[in-house]
């Protein structure tokens, strides 16, 4: 009886402890977001840093985004075709792939790729600057390390992700078109006419809105874990890992929240 009581009490204790930890972590991230909005309008605006981050997050991700987009579109075309052929609506492959890409796959997969690539890089860079006292050096010079490092990264990621998602969408559709018309022998004219009939600007808009928020949250999490680093190189490794894991989880959770709002306001 005593053992059962101990088991239950320790389980409840563990759950309570995890819950408190989770909530305080969430509170710290919300506080971090407030700090971003506090520093955002403050001078000086660091254009050089912003451009450098736009290049790092945007330009350097182009190849991997385009490659992932092409193969996602091609695979989607195959999968959709063999399903739709059974009910003789294979001419709808184009719009179905395009809509899936525009509303979900392009923003979510671009988000996951950027979380893995840039979110981790942000945590590692800021974290290693922290353990080597470079953040202290900035502060001693009278420069806010937050304004100098976090603000340009968050702006850059929020601007880059919609662009990367658009490229993913475009290349994905090109891949789908080639597989549909060359390998699956769907008539090109029908492919385009169906696409024009079922695909609207609002559908692309939904994806772009989502990617903006994904870029924001990925960079907030990446920079947050970078600033939080403690205990040397091991701490940097841990922060990098956490930035990727929580960046990806945040994209998926935010995707659900944003979808439930966007379908209400912009239609399914």
């Amino acid at each position: 009886m005593n053992k059962i009581y101990k088991f239950f009490s320790s389980t409840v204790e563990q759950i309570g402890f995890s819950l408190i930890n989770g909530l305080s972590g969430l509170g710290r991230i919300i506080n971090f977001i407030f700090r971003f909005f506090y520093w955002l309008p403050k001078n000086p605006f660091r254009l050089k840093e912003l451009v450098s981050q736009l290049y790092d997050i945007g330009n350097k991700s182009l190849f991997i985004i385009a490659l992932s987009g092409a193969f996602t579109g091609m695979v989607m075309a195959y999968q959709t075709y063999f399903g739709f052929r059974l009910i003789s609506v294979d001419s709808l492959v184009g719009p179905v792939v395009a809509l899936s890409l525009a509303k979900e796959l392009a923003p979510v997969l671009s988000g996951l790729i950027v979380a893995g690539r840039s979110g981790s890089a942000m945590a590692a860079h800021i974290g290693s600057m922290k353990v080597t006292e470079q953040l202290d050096a900035l502060e001693v010079m009278g420069i806010s390390s937050f304004q100098y490092l976090a603000v340009p990264r968050i702006i850059a990621a929020s601007l880059c992700l919609p662009m990367l998602s658009s490229i993913f969408l475009f290349v994905g559709n090109v891949g789908s078109y080639f597989v549909g018309t060359k390998a699956l022998m769907i008539d090109g004219t029908i492919y385009f006419s169906k696409l024009g009939k079922w695909m609207f600007v609002e559908d692309i808009g939904q994806g772009l809105i989502k990617s903006f928020f994904f870029g924001f949250i990925i960079s907030v999490i990446g920079t947050y874990f970078g600033f939080k680093v403690e205990k040397g190189a091991a701490g940097v490794g841990k922060a990098t890992n956490q930035a990727v894991v929580w960046g990806m989880i945040s994209v998926l959770i935010l995707d659900y929240i944003l979808t439930s709002f966007l379908v209400q306001f912009m239609g399914g």
């Binding site: 290693s128 600057m129 080597t132 006292e133 470079q134 202290d136 050096a137 502060e139 001693v140 010079m141 009278g142 420069i143 806010s144």
Partner: protein, 251 residues
């Protein structure tokens, strides 16, 4: 503790710091004389780094005040504090150079941030600063990872001096260095002091290296468990009757 009549660059009054329920600095009161080299000595965990953070205004006192160049840091807003920190130059233990910038760019960084100097003027100043700390031109555009520990310290010092600070802080400047590099850093600190003595620059060294302290300091403060237990001119410090100081000097 306040033995000196000298004008003070830093005046600490009743400073107490409690972090995580632990008292780090305990009702600390002393003044650091202007235009002199003062070393704050102490064992690891004595509170030296915490004291340094207070002088820089990076930590708020739990109780008490820190006056720097006559200003109470408690009265300054975060924004004013950032501006005020331009009075300081700091040489970090491992130099803390920005690793994505070359030696030249590291020294030019504060000049580009806080002055309206033209590119040519910045170049002239950076060349002068790097040469004054003994860096050769062929190393100007090397990244910190391509420089030796001693060279990184030199570049760190050049960067700290770029804006002509009123107070120069050295955090464990000789820790982990070989005897030759230690001597080089000592000479660098002394030369920097001599070159800037006319404009009233104060030097504060945080260290646990007794040898260095005795060689280059004007005054020595000994910190133990968050309290200044001895604060004397260096010639009197070596004859201190304080047991802890004697123990430390014997190491």
């Amino acid at each position: 503790m306040d033995y000196f009549e000298e004008e003070k660059a830093v005046d600490i009054k009743g400073l107490t710091t409690i972090l995580g329920g632990q008292t780090i600095l305990n009702n600390l009161s002393f003044g650091i004389p202007k235009n002199k080299i003062t070393t704050i000595l102490g064992f690891s965990g004595a509170g030296k780094s915490t004291l340094l953070k207070h002088i820089l205004g990076l930590l708020k006192p739990t109780y008490g005040s820190v006056f720097v160049l006559g200003k109470n840091l408690n009265d300054l807003s975060e924004f004013e504090l950032k501006k005020f920190r331009r009075h300081f130059g700091m040489l970090f233990q491992y130099a803390a150079l920005f690793d994505s910038l070359s030696a030249y760019e590291n020294v030019a960084f504060p000049l580009n941030e806080f002055t309206d100097l033209s590119e040519d003027e910045v170049e002239e100043k950076v060349y002068g600063l790097l040469e004054s700390v003994g860096i050769k031109v062929d190393s100007f555009f090397k990244l910190p990872s391509e420089l030796s520990g001693g060279m990184r310290k030199r570049v760190g010092l050049a960067r700290a001096l770029a804006l002509g600070p009123d107070i120069m802080l050295y955090d464990e400047p000789t820790t982990g260095l070989d005897p030759i590099t230690t001597k080089m850093v000592n000479d660098l600190i002394l030369n920097t002091y001599r070159k800037n003595v006319d404009r009233g620059m104060t030097s504060i060294i945080i260290s646990h290296d007794v040898k260095v302290t005795l060689e280059i300091s004007d005054f020595v403060a000994f910190l133990d468990h968050g309290k200044i237990v001895e604060f004397l001119p260096v010639k009197d410090f070596v004859n201190s009757q304080n047991k802890l100081v004697q123990e430390f000097l014997a190491l």
